[in-house]
């Protein structure tokens, strides 16, 4: 029940999903569509579980006075207020809680969106720092990587063509960048794509056949 039933469920559903790709008959397509619609619902519960876990972990952190515990109070306050306002707005708007003019939309536009965007924008600074301190050209391969990176970086922006406009068209940075992307880069990426596809197909079959069981968490 604890291991065999989940493995059997995975195998049966996995085989059925592969079968539905080849068999259009409604005896297969309708149950397959039901399974996919069910997956949409179960995945949503999974995300709600994740949110509930954040609540539990941080309550625990505050109770045990872990480092930075005062900030966790702010975290929980943000969580509970956003959730509560979203719940009220959803009832008022018949589910459209993010519609223009709602309090949830205000939270989304002025708290969630700016902070989400800014967190990722810090990477621009770190990429410059990493380029200076960590990008070592010690081998032929690294040199080739660096050369391709420099040509593409400069050829993709207007300053590249501006600096080489005096050269014949095929020798300009923009044209060189275009050639790198369409020929050697494309060849390498396609090889990786084909190799990765083989890997995913093999892993998918291993999971369906019960050879790969890591999703059962290794418990008894």
């Amino acid at each position: 029940m604890k291991r065999e039933l989940p493995l059997a469920i995975t195998a049966a559903i996995g085989v059925f999903m592969i079968l539905s790709f080849f068999v259009p008959h409604q005896a297969v397509s309708v149950p397959a569509d039901f399974l996919q619609a069910s997956a949409i619902i179960v995945v949503a519960f999974g995300y709600v579980l994740g949110g509930a876990n954040v609540l539990r972990v941080n309550f625990d952190g505050i109770y045990k006075r872990q480092p930075d515990w005062p900030y966790k109070i702010l975290l929980l306050a943000g969580l509970i207020v956003t959730f509560a306002i979203g719940a009220i707005d959803g009832v008022e708007q018949h589910g459209g809680f993010l519609d223009q003019g709602t309090r949830s939309k205000w939270i989304y536009d002025n708290l969630y969106s700016p902070m989400s965007a800014t967190m990722f924008s810090l990477l621009a600074f770190f990429i410059a720092s990493a380029a200076f301190r960590a990008f070592r050209i010690r081998t032929v391969e690294a040199g080739l990587l660096a050369l391709a990176a420099l040509l593409v970086m400069l050829g993709r922006v207007p300053v590249g063509d501006l600096a080489t406009h005096w050269l014949p068209a095929p020798a300009r940075l923009g044209a060189i960048q275009d050639w790198i992307m369409n020929v050697p880069q494309n060849a390498a990426k396609r090889a990786i794509l084909i190799g990765a596809a083989l890997g995913v197909m093999a892993t998918g079959l291993r999971v369906i056949l019960g050879i790969e069981r890591s999703y059962l968490s290794g418990e008894e």
């Binding site: 039933l5 989940p6 493995l7 995975t10 049966a12 559903i13 996995g14 999903m17 592969i18 790709f21 996919q36 619609a37 997956a39 619902i41 179960v42 949503a44 519960f45 995300y47 709600v48 994740g50 949110g51 930075d68 702010l74 975290l75 943000g78 509970i80 956003t82 959730f83 979203g86 719940a87 536009d109 708290l111 969630y112 989400s116 965007a117 800014t118 924008s121 810090l122 621009a124 990429i127 391969e141 080739l144 990587l145 660096a146 391709a148 040509l151 993709r156 992307m181 880069q185 494309n186 060849a187 396609r190 090889a191 084909i194 596809a197 197909m201 998918g204 999971v207 999703y215 418990e219």
Partner: protein, 236 residues
């Protein structure tokens, strides 16, 4: 150029939080910690309520309610059904059968209670089965077959030497890159030569990827500066 500060309180909040996060570049500090923890809390709350209103209510609760109460969930208006039956499902209309994903979804929460946590494996098994099947066929058709088909291109076109040269380079690059990933034999002799050539193509690919990554990261910074300059400070 003149300054036109925004009068929108929300924009000011967004700008202040943006500056709080940028302060991390100098060093970790309480302002950054405030923004960071607020972001995690607001995100978690947003995600929970989002999934409730966008999936659990419209895709699960509402269809079940319609079948059990024969009324619209929001307006309470009675609903007439052309085809009665709690379990009389057809494509796209699964009625009472939706109880199954509902129960499986609730079983996921058993993970929070140690002793009965194993019940969540049934839900995980269902998700894994669906996605393993979808992804296997998707990768097989969309990546493997289609990409191999596209690789079988003519190597020569009359009157177009550039096409010929590029096609040959592309094909040699593809084969040598694929051979690099063949580890069933030691990379010696002819295989070793092709494998080394494949490494050069892969390095060109990774270098191009690095160049594009730099573009992406700098774009993110440009976006934030545009928000601060245009929306907050109104510099025109």
């Amino acid at each position: 150029m003149s300054l036109h500060l925004s009068h929108d309180f929300g924009i000011w909040i967004g700008a202040v939080l943006t500056l709080f996060i940028f302060s991390f570049l100098y060093k970790d500090n309480p302002f950054y910690k405030i923004a960071e923890h607020l972001f995690v809390g607001v995100s978690a709350g947003y995600y929970i309520i989002l999934y409730w209103w966008t999936v659990i209510v419209p895709n699960l609760i509402e269809p079940l309610w319609k079948q059990l109460a024969h009324r619209d969930l929001w307006t309470g208006q009675p609903l007439l059904q052309a085809r009665p039956g709690l379990f009389a499902a057809e494509l796209g209309d699964y009625r009472g059968w939706l109880v199954i994903p509902g129960i499986l979804g609730l079983l996921l929460f058993s993970r929070l209670f140690g002793k009965i946590g194993w019940l969540s494996r049934w839900s995980l098994a269902m998700i894994i089965g669906v996605y393993a099947g979808i992804k296997t066929t998707g990768f097989a058709q969309g990546d493997f077959v289609a990409q191999l088909q596209a690789s079988l291109q003519p190597l020569w076109k009359a009157g177009d030497p550039a096409f010929t040269i590029n096609s040959v380079i592309f094909t040699v690059g593809l084969i040598s890159s694929l051979l690099f990933f063949f580890f069933s034999r030691e990379h010696k002799g002819t295989l070793g030569v092709f494998s080394r050539l494949g490494v050069f193509f892969l390095m060109a690919g990774f270098g191009a990827g690095y160049g594009y990554t730099v573009m992406s990261r700098i774009s993110l910074l440009i976006g934030r500066f545009q928000f601060l300059l245009d929306n907050w400070l109104g510099l025109r």
